[in-house]
Amino acid sequence: MAQHEAAILVEEGASGAAHGGSEGGLSIHPMDQFVVQPLFHDGAVGIFTVTNATFWMAMAVLCTVLLLVIGTRGRNVVPSRAQSVAELAYGFVYKMVEDVTGREAVKYFPYIMTLFMFIVMANSLALLPMSFAPTAHISVTAVLAFAVFFGVTILGFVKHGTSFLGLFWVSSAPLVIRPVLAVIELISYFVRPVSHSVRLAGNITAGHAVLKVFAGFASVMGIGAILPVVAITAIYALEVLVAFIQAYIFTILTCVYLKDALHPSH
């Protein structure tokens, strides 16, 4: 019996892997696009294996270099098109750091710009068909978020010593409820990297999965797939917006956290 069941399972698995076969051709695998695979050979994904994730991160680096280095090589006072986009990105993040965090935080601008450029490029490139979204992976966004979290926390202690803990001690509140607030503040502080990373990964994952689901509908419906195609178009437009907005949110939250580290008093 057990052998028989195993054989059936194998058969189902094989046909399912082939095309979903008996289920009327409706085999949508919206999460397959997130699978990390080696590029040049079959086998396990080791730490140094060149994978599709590696490739698309490299593309993000390449596009950043193309835009910010090759695009500005003219150093024109009257900018070319690429240079004005590069200047726009520079001014956008620089002004964000300056406005949210303050003038003295400008020396951290390269780090924040690095985060912004990586996320916005990875998000945008992930919208190309057949591409891969590094920022849809919690492992990637968690590294980014924890880098910000630890960086900011260490910076706060280095700059202010133990008085950095005043961040959790709301001195403007009545003394009685301060301990309660301190607990809440502490929890919210440690939840920051979680929300920071899950927000980005979740948004990108959800958008790409929905696109894939509608694409599956379209492929099943064939010639009559007007509604799914319209939906894909609309969602794609939304995803273009999301790609930028999530990078913006990640960056501005980084600025806010940095501001807390530089000015811990409420």
């Binding site: 080791g46 140094f48 590696t54 910010l68 024109n76 200047e87 520079y90 390269p110 992976h137 994952t205």
Partner: protein
Amino acid sequence: MATDPRQSVLGEGETAATGMPQLDLGSFPNQIFWLLVALGAIYYVLSRVALPRIGAVLAERQGTITNDIAAAEELKLKASEAEAAYEKALADARAEAHRISDENKAEMQAELDRAMEKADARISEQQDESERRIAEIRDNAMANVEEIAKETAQALVGAMGGEAESGRVNSAVDTRMEERA
């Protein structure tokens, strides 16, 4: 399930195939490693090349704009100065023209006055001369009349048969002439 080709590729195939590939712990070290490489590369390029360059370009543009605005203001100032100078020159020229015309007028008036004076002098001179000559003529005429009167009187006296005593006739004529005059 070992026949699924996708699973044979993956280290943690089981979870990846059935759930979210994002939760496949086997791919974490790989992604984290390459993420750090990518971030390092971006940071290196940005901090060494891109950001200083863009910052310099923006600063240069700001400087150029500021300079241009300053230059424009300077030129504007110069233009208004030039305009003021022009106005002043115009006013000066006008005043000069007035002055010259006034001078000319005065000069002409003076010349005219002088000419008139000269003419007046000449006229009065000629008038005097004429008067003098008329008086002379009149005197002569009177003398002639007196002489003719005396001669006529003498002739009349002679014609009436009297011996005309010239002294008495003459005094009688003089007396009469003075009475008539």
